[in-house]
Amino acid sequence: MHEIIWHGRGGQGVVVAAQILAEAAYLQGYLGVTSAPTFGPERRGAPLTASTRISDTPLRTFSQIESADIAVVLDPSLLKVVDVQSSVKDGGLIIINSYLQPADFHLRAGLTVAVVDAVKVALKFHLLKEGAPVVNTPLLGAFARAAGLVALEYIEKGLIKKLPAKVVAANSMALNMAYEETVIKKIGSGLRDH
């Protein structure tokens, strides 16, 4: 079983991203998929999480994720507010929306960091919602590249299933561009990584 936690802010499409990933994983052939929002009220702009579980067999656990295999960070400012690192297992993967490089994030050794400038990608394809760039789709592209769990073609299929038809083309292009632009680095214990 693979556990993914999404860190974002209310209004960023965190829950939708978690749902698209679940759809995509099921389409690819995983029999167990769940996606859940943070249980309770949600407020625009406030930090929130959503989760996706992916398994070869049907899932029988609906409790909240204690320690994820993968964390996806939609808003890099959350790294200062939320302890994202401790939401991920040792040896896990953190995917961050940022214009910085993986080594710029001072994360603990053993983690793998993947970075994509999702804002740049969203702006290139005019993906805007209420004036703000839509970063969830580009991060799904980064997920396909960095996690190696769900192939890009299935994420694209999941996207088509979940999103309104008129926005699919732009989102698809953003997904593919983000996939190409994702930079991945494993954090070593050496000083040069800090």
Partner: protein
């Protein structure tokens, strides 16, 4: 091959209501139930469901609309949670006393004070004695399947059915659900035939004041008194066990999904330690059982689908070889123990089946219940039971005391 969709528990419930071609929906918004009736209002607006949506100012009125519409022959639906259900309390008795086959979803949520919007089962458990059949779902597939079965059960025995499922944990979590085919549901669920037709051509007085004794009516026929009417409701719920099982068997044959019992079983065949509970906590317990088995403990889960009528005989049979029983529940009967625990003990009374039994109170007000916590608590309980010092105990899981 039936279509599979990834959906929340609330979408599963609304989809089932659409498949059952319900004619009247009336509800008042309350978290975490709201998206059930929001989805239904969209179905009605778009014409996918040809029903009347009656807007009301409260849950008390929502149930009153259901009672009225059901009395004049409509298939009806409502759903609520927590305080909404409590506000309906008076009308729940009226619905059952009037022998109306109303189906309602209770999306389980804790009860104030203090305020909580999160999940436990105190709301539906506290309505146990209203004369409603109560069914509990372990996942979203069971929600869609149980609502469909609920209409058939309700309309066969003329008693209302409450389909209960955990708020947020199921209501807001998306998972794969195999969609029952619309033609299959049509063949499974015959049209609703009301027991009494209220019409202007044949006016009647329904549910008038009734005196303690039996009385002759104007035609000279000796009519039931209050006690006879109550006896019949009790007898109906007792007999509804057979209908619940036969309905489940019919549905299983049509779908290939097993609803042939009032209980479900996970690795119980050779189990010495039985974990039992209702709803998603029992599902989570199956993961704990996998862990316990890795430790060499022969554990299994007995899921309770039907709480009223209580499946006492099935419980006796399922626990006859148990050497330890753990009852997990998200409710408490203040001043005693969990409500399910009391019923299970009562079912075993006089049977000679007398295993040590611990009652876990867990997940009140949405506190997360993890398989790991169940696994650890069961191990602690088994050690205590082996030391023969505590054969019977209520334990609050993951709670500062």
């Amino acid at each position: 091959m039936a279509e599979v969709q990834i959906m929340t528990g609330n979408t599963a419930a609304a989809t089932a209501v659409k498949l059952c071609q319900v004619q009247v929906v009336s509800a008042y918004p309350i978290t975490p139930q709201t998206s059930v009736t929001e989805t239904l209002s969209q179905f009605i607006e778009s014409g996918e469901l040809k029903a009347e949506y009656v807007r009301v100012e409260s849950e008390h009125s929502a149930m009153t609309v259901c009672i009225s519409a059901s009395t004049v022959g409509a298939r009806v639906f409502t759903s609520t949670s927590s305080h909404g259900l409590l506000y309906m309390h008076e009308q729940l008795h009226w619905a059952a006393g009037s022998r109306l086959p109303i189906v309602m979803c209770c999306v389980n949520r804790g009860v104030g004070a203090p305020w909580s919007i999160f999940n436990d089962q105190q709301d539906s458990i506290s309505q146990r004695d209203t004369g409603w059949i109560q069914l509990y779902c372990r996942d979203n597939q069971e929600i869609i399947d149980t609502v469909i079965q609920a209409y058939r059960i309700a309309e066969e025995v003329y008693a209302p059915v409450m389909v209960c499922y955990d708020g947020f944990v199921l209501s807001h979590t998306m998972m794969p659900v195999c969609l029952p085919d619309a033609d299959m549901v049509n063949s499974f669920l015959p049209p609703y035939k009301p027991h009494t037709i209220l019409s202007a051509d044949n006016p009647r007085n329904i549910n008038p004041v009734i005196f303690p004794g039996m009385r002759k009516n104007s035609a000279g026929i000796l009519c039931d008194g209050y006690m006879e009417i109550r006896y019949k409701l009790q007898e109906t719920l007792e007999k509804s066990r057979d209908v619940i099982v036969s309905t489940g068997i019919k549905y299983s044959k049509l779908t290939g999904r097993d609803y042939s019992g009032m209980l479900w079983h996970y690795k119980t065949d050779d189990a010495e330690v039985i974990l039992t509970g209702m709803g998603s906590i029992a599902t989570e317990a199956t993961v704990a059982v996998d862990e316990l088995r890795l430790k060499g403990i022969k554990a299994g889960v007995l899921g309770v689908r039907v709480f009223r009528p209580f499946p006492h005989a099935a419980i006796q049979q399922a626990l006859q070889n148990a050497r330890a029983v753990i009852v997990l529940e998200k409710d408490i009967s203040y001043g005693y123990e969990g409500a399910l625990c009391s019923d299970i003990k009562a079912a075993l009374y006089g049977t000679g089946i007398n295993p040590p039994l611990h009652n876990f109170i867990a997940g009140l007000g949405g506190r997360d219940v993890k398989a790991r916590e169940i696994f650890e608590a069961v191990q602690t309980s088994l050690t205590e039971m082996n030391n023969k010092n505590t054969q019977n105990k209520t334990i609050w899981i993951n709670c500062r005391q």
